[in-house]
């Protein structure tokens, strides 16, 4: 018997980030506020949010837009979104 050429049958499906397949918009402030610090209002980095390249860029661009257009506060996180479930692995 000879070994048969085949692709790895034990291959795991590619890991997906939290926003894989979700459309990021500058209008939904709640989604954007989940990636922002509640104390300073700064956007979390890639090592904290755990997002893939594309989505991290989209999120940061959307947050900057929301700041300028007057949808999202800049120096802090909107108090009504403080009780949202934690997505990023922040250690306060």
């Amino acid at each position: 018997l000879q070994p048969v050429e085949m692709e790895n049958p034990y291959k795991e499906p590619p890991k997906r980030c939290v926003l894989c397949g979700i459309n990021v918009d500058y209008k939904n402030v709640q989604l954007l506020s989940q990636f922002v610090s509640p104390y300073t209002g700064r956007v979390y980095g890639r090592h904290i949010t755990g997002l893939c390249n594309k989505k991290q860029k989209e999120i940061s661009k959307a947050i900057k837009r929301a700041h300028v257009f007057g949808f999202m506060p800049v120096m802090f996180k909107n108090p009504s979104f403080l009780m949202d479930p934690k997505i990023c692995n922040v250690k306060y």
Binding site: P14, C20, G21, D25, G70
Partner: protein, 109 residues
Amino acid sequence: SLLKPETAAVLKRTVEALMERGAVVRNLENLGERSLPYKISKHKERHKRGGYFLVDFEGPPSIVSTMMDHLGRDIDVIRRAFLKHPVSKKEECSGIIPVNYEDKLIAKK
């Protein structure tokens, strides 16, 4: 202190100005009236509440500068902005592909 007839007048004015410059207005959405995320000072007044509207239109890019000028002169408009229509990309999010750092290093050498 937002009043219905006033906001209607503002919207009418802006849409008419857009159409005057040769734009085709597709849709007008009201994103609600809420308290602004931060106090905005405009036209000698400090605003705390505002109404958000989204106008969907198609037009030549030369409109943008003239419209920004026009809206800047309008007392009732607090903040103005123009955006390109978001193109809904094909949803082929294939997840995080693990990067092969060895190959990258050897190829650059």
